[in-house]
Symmetry: C2
Subunit: 346 residues, 2 copies
Amino acid sequence: MIQAKGYAAQTAETPLAPWQFERRDLGAHDVQIEILYCGVCHTDIHLTRNEWFPGIFPMVPGHEIVGRISNVGLHVKKFSIGHLGGVGVMVDSCRECEDCKRGQEQFCTVSPVQTYNNIGKDGLPAYGGYSNTIVVNEDFVHHISEKLDLAAVAPLLCAGITTYSPLKRWKAGKGDKLAVVGLGGLGHMGVKFGVAFGADVTVISTSPHKEAAARELCAHHFLLSKDEEQMRAATRSFDFILDTVANDHDINPYLNTLKTNGIYINVGMPAKPWEVSSFSLATGNKVIAGSGAGGLPETQEMLDFCAEHNIVSDIELIDIKDIQTAYNRMLKGDVKYRFVIDMKTL
Amino acid sequence: MIQAKGYAAQTAETPLAPWQFERRDLGAHDVQIEILYCGVCHTDIHLTRNEWFPGIFPMVPGHEIVGRISNVGLHVKKFSIGHLGGVGVMVDSCRECEDCKRGQEQFCTVSPVQTYNNIGKDGLPAYGGYSNTIVVNEDFVHHISEKLDLAAVAPLLCAGITTYSPLKRWKAGKGDKLAVVGLGGLGHMGVKFGVAFGADVTVISTSPHKEAAARELCAHHFLLSKDEEQMRAATRSFDFILDTVANDHDINPYLNTLKTNGIYINVGMPAKPWEVSSFSLATGNKVIAGSGAGGLPETQEMLDFCAEHNIVSDIELIDIKDIQTAYNRMLKGDVKYRFVIDMKTL
């Protein structure tokens, strides 16, 4: 077994703390990654605190992993020692079901393995990226360009693909009016991709002070959602809405701002169910679209797109000892826009 | 003014009864239609009883109209006297907004005119098809083939286009598994179009006795929604769901039966808002799509498709004096599948 260290929650009630644990020995198709950076996703908070469902403890969170390959299994073809590698929200799947064959491994129900809070095919708990090293099947490791700031690349593995995937599916681009609701980890990536795809991008936020931040990200317009007059004036004006807000909120005011045939995409995953009237969708053939992360081919496509267009996340690099402070600040929305752990500090 | 007769609700509390009224004189671009048949839509019940919102009374309902052109205005080019003509849910719009230019006149918000329970551009109340004659701008009158049973064509103008339009938009066809929820006026048309488009069609119903009816309509499978085991077995099995049920119901069990990237289309328009969890859509990139009727070009396309493929509605032809009995039977779901008024009985 490979000795590893990281930060873990021992229970849903205890804060993260240093922990020693074991990873499986390298299989023929595995690579070992020396983790350089790991992004901090809101999901890490939800899962370590059992906010969605009971978790598997001890839990080492983290699914926005960038590092350097330090060892390769006998039959590994995709990587050599010294290459960069990235790991997102999953580390294995069945590869044979309809979803896997289509490249949507994130929806595999046969034998999916999430990056953490899951049991791997090796029978061991899957531990995530708040750690010095990880062993992953090469298929689930992505090539990372040497061109970009590696710490700022880490959040692309979750926040990046989660916003890139639905905008690509629905073909949001040139000539389209795109509204991004919420300007956090997901939202700021949504703005960057929207702008890169050529859309006319409006940031919608409850906070007037987000306007300057939105403009810095090259958003074209800003709409204050608390201002009823502004919202009324925006009736039937967007082709697409990308709602990135994790807190419970009424989505009906946003549906009103969609044009005919408009698509409301939700990636914020609020806990409380929405109340939606059939009439608000029928009038204008409107659509509510869910979207969950992205598959392996699309994640690599996104990373390549980012390298080509010089897109990374805006981050605050932190010492792993400050992870609880980071969680507390995230809960207040006080981060521009993603915390990334510098694994040298472990 | 043109003298007309029909059946009207004088108030939301009174039953339909014979009524004499006036239509506008023929404008240069108007045609006058001698109405032969008018389908009876569930909307007629909702509107004459103020179930959705306060209506304009006296109200002559009916928006599934087939008849013969009896007179044409000076500049009419599309029709000659003696031609067949069909009118659906709308009789005018602005023709200049984005929606009208795209051929989605049903969503015009500038100056839309519904076929009844609306005020026309002439300033007069728009009276619907439970009547001997109607005056309509030629653009809003569709060509009807002489090949089909005219009484059975009438419901195509609403129930037909309402189911045809979303199945076309979402490209439900060969190789796709389509579930049609509810087997009434809309549902039976959904089955007919699904089969004609080459999809593998399953009817989902709460009534076991609908199975034989579904098979008669050439549906390939039947699923009893009250049977939890059948529903569980259908998890992740459909590419498309066309939900035609007008009564309030929980849509979450149906969302579970969608495959990854699956589309749930609602045309039933239940009054109570749905409760939908963001998680149920994100897992599998699922979509809830609203759909309202269809525009002018698509309605003509649908009528032409029906003529070519010999598709009409299954109907019960009734005497207009029996309209209240028909309404009562519709409320019990006791009609196979659409009542059509024989206007000779007026």
